[in-house]
Symmetry: C2
Subunit: 421 residues, 2 copies
């Protein structure tokens, strides 16, 4: 029953019923959090074993280097090898960094600002812009805003961003790049289609110092056994001569421990050389003890995939709980649409137009914290005020079920209020 | 016997004898390294115990936060507390970072370039300068050179840098700061006198966006039981209203593990607020598992001091070996001077003027690697070509004794060559 077909009287009656239910929840004084892409407590337990000194052996990397001392700028060989397998690149096209890929991205853009990605530092060029597939990741947008880079929204479908629009916009040489999550995207969970990746690989930007930040954060984060496959961007770029446009990053933050994982950057020979030359100034090297611990524990791509299955066992019931509540409570009402991801950390919920802020506020009042409405858009401005990022991973399944129940109620209340207004 | 008093004939004879001795060393095909401020293998063993999961307990910080998950931007409370005690500041004036203070300094200067330390980014101001007490730390100079900041040499004595010269130079508002190691300085091992610290604390720079990078790397790195004491810069700055000028850093790189330690920044309330606001964009947080491991193992300043005594037991014989070789082979010859540090990682050797490069080259040929001549000066240019940084920590004591023997030989050969030329 599409509620938009109801009469005003029917809507008012329904609103009264829903409000009563809502108030009874509100009276419970709940405190539930669906706002953050944080692993749950049970997921953290999966990797405790890695903290045993067994995984440090005699503290020697495969090249005989003592990981407890200074040295090795770009990562111990076995760790580079492991990430190279994960990303489908050569080990020499990887650099292992510290605990977070967010910091790699911040640093890379900071260095483009000061030193440039080509001949001229970005900070010397007025009015530079980035294209931002939306809805997207708020922390990407924060970095760009921080550096004063203008952001342009690019709508996305289940295939990925609107590539025609991108092709058109990059004719402007002030457009310096794109930042995106190509697999199990934050928040939609969509994975770019092969065609989309091929179009990325054949971009012809006017700017010679153009860069795509290819944040492959969720490359091994499958939830369903039938999982998505992302075409390898560097393979696709070969032949087009576009390898230098792409800076790919990922990390083990949601494989092992958030904040205590290992991150990696993959790039072309030329970009690796530039980045390494800057690194020699910036650091003596990253935490190699943690690199050895990770590599000895996870071993290789197969090891990581096996470990990720254990995460999926915990995550799938949580995603299912949200999706089945949406199906039961919202389907067919004509007031909400949502994505059904095969992996990643989020579900994207589009509520009735103009109702995202109100929905989030209603939830908040009833003790359910959601990601702020607008957060999935540059400058926090969702032009249609309808997208809400749902993060099902951190609460327990019981908490989650209650939280989603309340959310569905709020979605409907906000929609009816809007229709009646 | 000052060799400068010898006749040319006597010098030639002596050169022949020394050269024969040198050639016999050369024939041995030695490979000895006194170039790097790296702990020796035996020092690394001292901290293995810290890698036991015992020191992670139930993975909870003192505020109940699970260190295995995202969160806590500026360090777990007990880690901030520990470093606050070490540096003599309040915990709220510290931020715990990743594995290296070098990266903190690079980052801080990068952010001054892009965003400024005051109203105007440094990158928008042409011709900015830093004052560099010399001899100093090559990696400091590399960072400044990398960002295109002009460096001006400030001579130092055992009291610290020439403060009259600094007072004069900072009348130029293009002079944006000073970078220095105030305690057991790299390479001299000198600690700034109370008077020097007080003069730093009362600097009156023309530049409103003036900053002193106070790299207190060796604050707990005593070698002798009678150790130096550095006046607390923030205590001294109080009353002068100069707290905002100072950015202090240190780390556990040479307390626990180089590359796998924990670093910290201490600063005024205003600077902490600015740095934190930038950090919220740059990172979700640093490795809190490593912070907890460190704090549970080292506990507090007393724990760190006890741990450092074990390092000193290993280091003192190495420093003594170098110093007694210098005494035996070089003292009274009028061709070399050296420092006698109570702590830190280096001894500074001044050879006969114009002979540092030649001495290092002679050593190299005989299989002894030293830090490159000139490395202790900005742009690698030692104006008198006389300073050599001696790093006694990495070789074994036997290797070190042989290396110093050869070094002393080379110092004298180079000096005689020069006098005869």
């Amino acid at each position: 029953m599409d509620i938009k077909n109801l009469s005003r009287e029917q809507l008012s009656e329904r609103l009264a019923v829903l409000t009563e239910e809502y108030n009874s929840y509100k009276a419970m004084g709940l405190k539930l959090d669906m706002s953050r892409g944080k692993p749950g407590a049970d997921q953290l337990e999966l990797t405790n074993e890695m903290l045993s000194p067994v995984y440090l052996g005699d503290y020697k990397a495969s090249n005989g280097f003592d990981v407890r001392n200074y040295g090795i700028l770009d990562g111990i060989p076995e760790c580079k090898q492991m990430f190279a397998e994960v990303l489908g690149v050569k080990p020499e096209n990887t650099i292992v960094f510290g605990n977070a890929s967010l910091t790699i991205m911040y640093d890379y853009i900071a260095q483009c600002m000061i030193f440039g990605a080509g001949d001229e530092p970005w900070c010397k060029q007025e009015g530079i812009k980035f294209l931002c597939p939306v809805p997207g990741y708020d922390r990407h947008f924060s970095i760009l805003e921080h550096f004063g880079i203008e952001m342009i929204n690019i709508p996305t479908t289940s295939e990925g961003p609107d590539m025609d629009m991108i092709d058109e916009l990059i004719k402007d040489e002030k457009v310096k790049g794109i930042i995106c999550v190509p697999m199990y995207s934050n928040p939609t969970g969509y994975t770019y289609s092969d065609e989309t990746v091929r179009r990325f690989a054949s971009l012809k930007p006017a700017a010679k110092d153009f860069r795509v930040i290819w944040d492959n954060a969720y490359c091994v984060h499958h939830i369903n056994s039938e999982h998505d496959v992302l075409l390898n961007i560097f393979d696709a770029a070969k032949g087009n001569g576009t390898e230098d446009y792409f800076i790919e990053v990922t990390s083990t933050s949601k494989v092992t421990f958030p904040g205590a994982g290992v991150s990696v950057l993959a790039a072309s020979d030329a970009n690796i050389a530039t980045i390494k030359s800057r690194m020699t100034i910036q650091t003596i090297g990253y935490d190699k003890i943690n690199q050895l611990r990770h590599t000895n524990y996870l071993k290789n791509l197969a090891g990581i995939e096996a470990h990720m299955l254990r995460h999926a066992e915990i995550l799938k019931p949580k995603f299912d709980a949200v999706l089945s509540a949406f199906d039961n409570k919202l389907a067919g009402k004509g007031i909400a649409e949502w994505t059904v991801p095969n992996g990643g950390y989020f579900i994207s919920l589009d509520v009735y137009e103009g109702c995202a802020k109100r929905t989030v506020a209603l939830c908040k009042e009833a003790g359910v914290t959601l990601t702020g409405a607008g957060a999935t858009y540059p400058y926090g401005k969702d032009p249609e005020d309808k997208n809400i990022r749902i993060a099902p991973t951190f609460p327990s399944r019981d908490e989650l079920c209650k939280a989603v129940e309340i959310l569905c109620l709020c979605v409907e209340i906000a929609a009816i209020e809007k229709i009646l207004a």
